[in-house]
Symmetry: C2
Subunit: 321 residues, 2 copies
């Protein structure tokens, strides 16, 4: 099953989301508009809008506010990427130049701010205060997570801290997409809890798989060096698993203590992690979460949308490690 | 009349706004909390919250959502200052070190983002979709204005462009404060139009006076060199008035064309503007707007709040030029 087929029940709706997002800077400064088009052309799989649309259609939400919600969430996601790339000094994302590769920091900050503003405006046009509150709460969680990462730096080498971090970074927005769509559908609290569970577990699994691919992926495909997280002092699931079975790794301890590790030693450490059982252990954790995500879906009516949500979850852990 | 007496009808409410703003980072990373307290301690006159409170009380709005609205607007204002100071590289604001004077750009961007998130969350807690839409629309206007200024740079030397710029920068938020409070009060469209007019004219006058003080103020009090806007190529009302009566000023033409003007020539140009009739002409324009602002208030019931709104407007142009 390809991503295309997950999206079959919502193909037209995704097109409407795309159109709505691209209109957001039409009445503003032409450079803002150009920046928005560039950022949206950089692609991305539109997973978050797809989640909102599939959940909302499964639960009987009206299409128009659902499309607006989906556009708001994807635009929020894109806005956070703009500020992230600035903060990390990244010059490429998905192989396409980031805004800060060619724009000044000032223009990049403001473009991100503009996209936050438009995302928030779209969220307000969903016409649900509850959705609006979920939206702003999620934004605060994401930003707080980035602040914590910036200030705490290395030294956080336990699973609880890692899970907290990837919840803030990734899963919180999956929860926003699924929960908001359920709220719009007017389902009961138990169903909202179940869909929150799905969004949460799916988002956590998604980030763990991303963190595995950072070790096992191909430098050319990744568009960045293998092990890039570890190279900047960030301990993700594969490194955590490796640490659990190799607590005395000198190089890994150096990373944890925030010391600079010579490149040759770093290369060797990453190679050891790639070839260790840590990769399979991390993948097991992602699979555990995906199974739990799919189990949450059993609370909902069978049909093409639920099938797509199940297939989407399965696909996440079916990628090559 | 001092600012204290304008605020007499709302003194307790302003205290509640202060408390609410200061709670916004309590459950988040302690460095975020410290940054928020620092930024709020830097003061400011709390003009925007005062406007929302006075208008809302005059028109019979409930106090609790009004306080939440006022806190949301002041927090939005503070968030925009954080990103502004970063963009301008300002190290002091109101004589107190800016965040970016001691923090990294990354931390400063994220702190601003967090404050946007909390401002938006407070706005959503006002429980009015219409207010939320005004709020996000205003944020987009402000950011678009900053982008335009960044990209267009100098060369905008007519009143229409200047008015557009100061509407985006300042008056839009005064409109937000007054219009949102009127929306919460449930008054009719004509009254909303009148209060929008008041907020607009007051905000425009306020920025013109600020722009005059940038020329006539004392370097020590301003905390920046006299004529700082012109020094960075920004043509404000006094320079515009001067240009209208001295279209052949070589130094001013150089600024307009984006050329670097030697400091001694710039000093002399600023001195000529300070001593010209341009200052009085700019002040006349501010007075015209203040009179119009006060005229809009005649649509509303007399009482302590209307008196405060009138006095506040009069005070803005009673400052020493």
């Amino acid at each position: 099953m390809t991503t295309v087929s997950f999206f079959a029940p919502i193909r037209e709706n995704l097109q409407a989301v795309e159109t709505l997002m691209r209109q957001q800077a039409a009445d503003y400064h032409h450079d803002l508009d150009a920046a928005l088009q560039h950022l949206l052309s950089a692609g991305g799989k539109r997973l978050r809008p797809a989640l909102a649309l599939l959940v909302g259609k499964m639960l009987g939400a009206e299409i128009e506010p659902l499309v607006t919600l989906a556009a708001a969430i994807e635009l929020l996601h894109t806005a956070t990427l703009v500020h992230d790339d600035l903060i990390d000094g990244a010059l490429l994302r998905r192989g396409i130049p980031t805004l800060n590769a060619s724009w000044s920091p000032a223009a990049t900050v403001l473009t991100g701010d503009f996209m936050f503003a438009r995302a928030a405006r779209l969220a307000s046009q969903v016409n649900s205060l509850e959705v609006m509150q979920l939206f702003t709460e999620t934004l605060a969680i994401i930003v707080n997570g980035e602040i914590a990462q910036l200030f705490e730096g290395p030294g956080l080498a336990d699973r609880a801290a890692y899970y907290r971090r990837i919840f803030a970074k990734t899963a919180s927005m999956f929860v926003l997409a699924t929960e908001s769509a359920a709220v719009l559908s007017g389902v009961d609290e138990a169903q909202i809890e179940a869909i929150r569970g799905y969004g949460h577990d799916l988002g956590m699994a998604y980030q763990i798989v991303d963190d595995i691919l950072d070790f096992t992926g191909d430098q050319v495909k990744l568009g960045k060096p293998v092990g890039s997280d570890l190279r900047r002092g960030l301990i993700t699931m594969p490194a955590l698993c490796y640490l659990e079975s190799h607590p005395d790794s000198v190089a890994l301890q150096s990373v944890l203590e925030g010391r600079i590790v010579p490149e040759s030693e770093m290369d060797a450490l990453i190679e050891r992690i790639r070839e260790s059982e840590a990769i399979a252990q991390a993948a097991d954790d992602a699979r555990r979460l995906v199974h739990r995500a799919i189990a949450h879906l059993q609370a909902f009516p069978a049909g093409p949308e639920r099938e797509s949500l199940e297939a989407l979850a399965a696909y996440i852990v079916a990628r090559d490690f």
